[in-house]
């Protein structure tokens, strides 16, 4: 890898990382405001215009809060858990393309090698792209198990166990729902899967793989523990689940990991099922339009998550497990069989 490519990758990392941080703090406000409107309240609107500075205030508050470590907690695990959570959450974004490839404009002040250079807004185009995201997700479960166990609190332990059992069950359905689209695209690369959806709108996996889309949306919601699957944090039963004992910046880190995971799921739904940066009109849009379309799709799905939270009650635990194992996984498995048959007889697409 040349120095130039390395430099570009570095810039991409910084930009994508900070875009996520910004989106995370934005989401905390948007979620509270939108939820409030759904419940005929106003939500936080005092800090700055429209409450726009609320995330800043929250951040400062969390910074200055006292760090509390419960007595009898396992120090090592207690410290490590938020770190594992955040590392896993942020690693997944390494293989995701955040928009179509585009040529840089040529300006006089730019060095020669940058002018008109083709840039793909993706940090690393791994051959095993989706598999990598899946593996990193799998490691993320440990943050929750560790946090629940290390805090030496019954609620935390129960929350940790519930959470990991839930992630474990739904991860299977989630992985199986991907198999169909991988077969259709013939590649694990997220970029290839997006390109396979180019053309008219019915080429989108939303239509070609509708069962997989439904399974992924549900399993993804469960994976990031959003309502109606937020049993790990069911406050009426478990105080706050696995992060009951966390305060200050560690709490902020755990929250950040959860939101970043949610954003990743939304981005993946947009890329894998909604055609990514393709408009579905049968012709290739200019990169900027494609990028805006991609952002709009991600925004719509994030809004959908908030909407769900404002609408649905929580599942009961046994219902949750039944639903995962007895409904979602069979649907995903049948979808794989049918898709495999169609691909074998008709070829890819």
């Amino acid at each position: 890898m040349t120095l130039q490519a390395l430099l570009i990758a570095l810039v991409l990392i910084v930009v994508i990382f900070h875009a996520h941080l910004g989106l995370f703090s934005g989401m905390t406000l948007i979620e509270r405001r939108v939820l409030a409107f759904m419940q005929f309240r106003l939500g936080p609107n005092r800090t700055g215009p429209f409450g726009l500075l609320q995330p800043v205030a929250d951040g400062i508050k969390l910074f200055f809060k006292e760090e509390v470590m419960p007595e009898g907690a396992n120090k090592f695990g207690f410290f490590l858990a938020p770190m594992v959570a955040i590392v896993c959450a942020f690693s997944a974004m390494a293989v995701i393309p955040y928009g179509p490839a585009f040529h840089l404009p040529s300006f006089g002040f730019m060095p020669e090698w940058l002018r008109g250079r083709l840039i793909t807004p993706q940090i690393a185009d791994l051959e095993i792209g989706l598999l990598f995201i899946f593996a990193v997700n799998a490691v993320g479960v440990y943050a929750i198990v560790m946090a629940g166990w290390a805090a030496n609190n019954k609620f935390s332990l129960l929350g940790g166990l519930r959470s990991s059992a839930q992630m474990f069950s739904y991860e299977l359905a989630l992985g199986l729902s991907w198999v169909g689209i991988i077969m259709l695209a013939g590649s694990f690369k997220v970029g290839d899967i997006v390109e396979a959806q180019a053309g008219p709108i019915w080429k989108w996996n939303l239509f070609m793989q509708f069962p997989a889309f439904v399974v992924y949306l549900i399993a993804g919601t469960a994976e990031v523990s959003r309502l109606p699957f937020d049993l790990p944090e069911g406050e009426t039963e478990l105080v706050a689940g696995f992060h009951t004992e966390y305060s200050s910046m560690k709490f902020a880190l755990i929250q950040m990991a959860e939101y970043v995971n949610m954003i990743t799921v939304a981005v993946l739904v947009a890329l894998l099922f909604l055609g990514g940066w393709h408009l579905g009109l049968g012709f290739a849009a200019p990169p900027l339009v494609g990028f805006l379309a991609f952002l709009a799709k991600v925004g719509a799905i994030l809004f959908f998550f908030i909407w769900l939270r404002g609408t649905l009650p929580r599942f009961r635990y046994d219902q949750l497990m039944d639903f995962g194992w007895k409904i979602l996984i069979p649907i995903a498995a049948i979808n794989i069989l049918v898709t495999a048959g169609l691909v074998a007889f008709l070829g890819q697409r």
């Binding site: 695990g77 598999l131 899946f134 593996a135 166990l161």
Partner: protein
Amino acid sequence: MHFTASDGVFLAFAAITVGSAVVVTLARSLIYSAFALLFTFFGVAGLYLLLGADFIAASQLLIYVGGILVLLLFGVMLTHKLYDLDLKSEVTQFAPAAIVAAGLFVVLAVLGFRTTWKIGPGRAPSATTDEIGHLFMGQYLLPFEAASVLLLVALIGAAMIVRRKKEA
């Protein structure tokens, strides 16, 4: 010998693997062993990656870290007897274990030095996923299918064992 960057990465991953494996065997509490095993698996996945086996590395993380070890931790956390167990090795266990370990080490070392390893010119690792898929569905179809049937049998067997007896 010239010390390259990949040597450094190898040493780092090897240190993670071996170091955490030592913790796995020596830890007094079973839960520490289980958590240390996480880092062992992680180190091994890193070694796979270094050897250009990206698919196996991801599968290693997915299956061993994401599946098997979580189940193991579940078992430990939910079983009170295991959770509070204070593990102590006695001298009578220590001696045979040392002998077996030393013997295995000698065998492996001799084998390692005697084998003439295939050393090719260094090249960028190519993608393996495609090839693995073709080999599984072609040349190695029978062993692959046999393994899957075996796993299915194990799955059904496990489900049969834990199934509640019907109350008459």
